[in-house]
């Protein structure tokens, strides 16, 4: 048993962290969120240079051929930095396409996605929080009629993997006719969303196995859990750093025992989540019988911890934490998206209970 990172994994996290520290500073983020763009193109380019968009794409198609654990480790860094790049959905789309048994499909799309020349996204949710494949109702076919909700980066992406009735998956060109994109006033401006309306949009069904959609969603949950862990640990760090420098009544904040204990409690909620997201990702490729349970539990648990951590971090900053120009709210809003996207904690706690076999 060796539940630890390889030196390659450590190096990958470290180089991502360093790159993001430099290129995705808080100052940069403030500018980005005021511009209301779908993503930051230069940062995406840097990600492409590192091979991040194709991390889990087989090397045969130009990817790095890594696994879900590596995606999650990268997602932790993205969450920590609140990086405004549409990687989560891109990874999921590529993951689904790679599951296709049709070499033609794989060869047509994966190389572009691996290099990040084209951006892909996923369209999963239907009305009433129908995120899970078994609840999808959009009829499969060569032309789609209907809607999908909360699609990341839809206004800028090139293609979208769409969840269809019966848990099937199709690929739609977002530039083609028959697709309308309705941009949303999203709470998290680092990851803008849109609703998609299809009226006769051309769709190519993926020749993927029956469980491809649910495997893709489970991977998505594991990745969001990792993102949430990265965000929560950033919130903890912000609150701790602020307590070290800010003074009140002539003393450093951090010298007040009540606040020190609140921060210790925050650490106690956040830090153990690391192992949980690791296992959530690890199970996807190594413990298939527990993959859904581990993914839902990690998403529900860590998503909840992130939301609390982000609220608490703001509270522990006092008034400054409540201002737009300060950094905290960027992560609070990411926490709100991590909480809701792919289904909220209630949904996933109940799914975990179901999969636990109780």
């Amino acid at each position: 048993m060796n539940f630890a990172l390889t030196s390659e994994q450590k190096a990958m996290q470290e180089s991502l962290r360093r790159m993001l520290d430099e290129r995705c500073s808080a100052r940069f983020l403030h500018t980005f969120i005021d511009e209301k763009k779908d993503y930051d193109a230069p940062l995406w380019k840097l990600m492409c240079d590192l091979g991040i968009p194709g991390m889990a794409i087989p090397e045969a198609y130009g990817g790095l051929g890594l696994g879900v654990v590596d995606l999650a480790l990268a997602a932790e860094m993205l969450g920590r930095a609140a990086a405004p790049v549409p990687l989560h959905a891109h990874w999921l789309a590529a993951y689904a396409i790679a599951l296709s048994s049709d070499e033609g499909q794989r060869a047509r799309w994966l190389p572009d996605l691996a290099e990040g020349r084209r951006i892909a996204t996923v369209a999963l949710c239907e009305e009433q929080s129908r995120w899970m494949p078994e609840t999808w109702e959009l009829a499969a076919g060569a032309n789609l009629e209907g809607a999908k909700l909360y699609v990341p980066c839809a206004a800028s992406a090139d293609l979208v993997v769409v969840g269809l009735a019966g848990g099937r998956l199709g690929v739609v060109d977002l530039r083609a006719s028959g697709v309308t994109v309705e941009r949303l006033p999203g709470i998290d401006r680092t990851r803008p969303m849109a609703h998609l309306r299809f009226s006769g949009a051309a769709c190519e069904l993926l020749a993927a196995p029956a469980d491809a959609a649910s495997r893709m969603v489970d991977v998505g949950l594991a990745i969001l859990a990792a993102d949430a862990f990265g965000g929560a640990s950033r919130c903890l760090d912000m609150a701790v750093e602020y307590a070290k420098v800010r003074e009140q009544f002539g003393r450093k904040f951090g010298a007040f025992q009540a606040l020190r204990h609140q921060l210790a409690n925050l650490a106690n909620e956040v830090e153990p989540c690391r192992g949980l997201y690791w296992f959530g990702a690890y199970a996807q490729e190594n413990v298939p019988e527990r993959a859904s349970h581990a993914a839902s539990l990690a998403k529900a648990h860590i998503g909840s911890r992130f939301l609390e951590a982000a609220r608490n971090a703001i509270e522990y900053h006092g008034g400054i934490g409540f201002t737009w120009d300060f950094d905290c709210h960027i992560w609070l809003k990411r926490a709100m998206l991590d909480q809701a996207w792919l289904g909220n904690a209630d949904l996933h706690y109940l799914r975990a209970a179901e999969r636990a076999g109780w």
């Binding site: 709470i187 998290d188 409540f322 120009d325 909480q339 809701a340």
Partner: protein
């Protein structure tokens, strides 16, 4: 123990209701626009003794004897038809009481009447960067040069300062004196070159708070309230007339009832949330807190009306209220489902309906735990003042 009001008060309630039926909402001829209509309504309500009850008639108030039950009836009846009461803001809420208690006769005549009508709108200048709850360490200074105070420094968290004409502020006038003994309470005209006002954008996208910068701003020597160096104590004066804890209770009760409505129209685990035993139980858990606060507040009002000390509940109000607000916000954020991802933070429209309310509340409920003495400060106060635990000697 009697939760009914009795015939005398019920007669009074009928009078208030009758007045409201005839005067609210405004009719044709009550004034050219909404603001004028509200001003006219408030003038009539003052005439009848329903608002500005603790303020003498000579300053524009209605000068009524303190009566917590009448105040509560007025509150209930006005709330029922959404009629406006006293002008909101620190001018009426803080300054007027301070001037009545500590101001000169000239100051009262000069400032109170026009503050009550809204002609003078005031910003509050207490907090400073680096001194949120710690007023004793504030650094804005005022120096008496000739017949003028010359003011330099910076204030923060001043609500609506961008639309105020005047400010009441605390500034350090006695640099030798230690901590809070060197502070004075000054009035200031904001419309002058030495004052710069910047709006602070909040995480919700709204921006009612401001930063205010003073660079050799001036105010006449006689615009000091009370004596030099007494500003710290003067800032803590409030109008004791009919002060009541009802507003926090009303806020929580209203939000709780909206939460029940939200549960009625939301789905949980595939069926209406209000039918889910879990959500029903969670609602009842919150209702337990809301009702505990409500009846403790009735008890407090009743005891204060009889001149008795209601004990520690007054000190708990703010902390209790913040924690209930958080519980409401958190359950609301579960019930809105996917719409937790949506809020138009650039829209100027008020956030009053649907999921927007809950997404907004998840953020804005934090204000209660931060502003006006953070929850940690409240806990300090409770521990020292109510539980008699040793002061933090550090």
């Amino acid at each position: 123990m009697d939760l009914s009001y009795g015939p005398e008060y019920e007669t009074f309630r009928a009078e208030v209701a009758d007045f409201l039926a005839r005067n609210w909402p405004p009719r044709e001829g009550d004034g050219e626009d909404r603001d004028a209509q509200v001003t006219e309504f408030r003038r009539r309500a003052t005439e009848r003794g329903y608002v500005y009850r603790g303020i003498p008639k000579k300053y524009g108030g209605s000068e009524q004897p303190a009566d917590l039950l009448r105040a509560r009836i007025i509150g209930e009846e006005f709330a029922r038809v959404h009629a406006p009461r006293e002008l909101p803001g620190g001018g009426v809420g803080h300054l007027v009481g301070t001037l009545l208690e500590c101001g000169t006769e000239w100051q009262r005549q000069q400032f109170i009447p026009k503050t009550l009508t809204g002609e003078y709108f005031w910003a509050q200048g207490y907090s400073e960067p680096g001194a949120g709850s710690d007023l004793a360490s504030l650094r804005t200074r005022a120096e008496l040069v000739g017949d003028k105070w010359v003011i330099n420094g910076q204030k923060i968290w001043s609500s609506y300062a961008y639309k105020a004409q005047y400010m009441f502020l605390l500034a350090r006038t006695e640099p030798q004196a230690s901590r809070h003994r060197g502070i004075s309470y000054l009035l200031l005209d904001l419309h002058q070159p030495g004052v710069e006002i910047r709006r602070i954008r909040q995480i919700t996208g709204q921006s009612e708070f401001c930063e205010v910068f003073f660079t050799d701003a001036t105010t006449p020597a006689e615009w000091i309230v009370g004596n030099r160096g007494e500003g710290w104590n003067i800032s803590r004066v409030t109008l004791k007339h009919e002060r009541s804890s009802g507003r926090g209770v009303d806020w929580n009760a209203a939000h709780f009832s909206w939460l029940v409505e939200l549960a009625k129209r939301s789905l949980y685990d595939g069926r209406p949330a209000i039918e889910s035993p879990e959500i029903r139980r969670q609602l009842a858990v919150i209702q337990g807190y809301v009702e505990a606060m409500r009846y403790s507040s009735y008890r407090q009002v009743s005891m204060e009306a009889q001149g008795e000390d209601p004990g520690m509940f007054r000190s708990l109000m703010k902390l209790t209220g913040s924690e209930i607000a958080e519980k409401i916000a958190m359950l609301g954020s579960r019930l809105v489902g996917d719409e937790l991802m949506l809020l138009d933070m650039d829209s100027r429209r008020e956030v009053r309906r649907g999921s927007d309310r809950w997404v907004h509340l998840l953020m804005s409920s934090l204000v209660m735990a931060i502003a006006g003495g953070s929850s940690n400060i409240q806990r300090n106060i409770i521990a020292e003042r109510n539980l008699g635990l040793p002061r933090d000697n550090t």
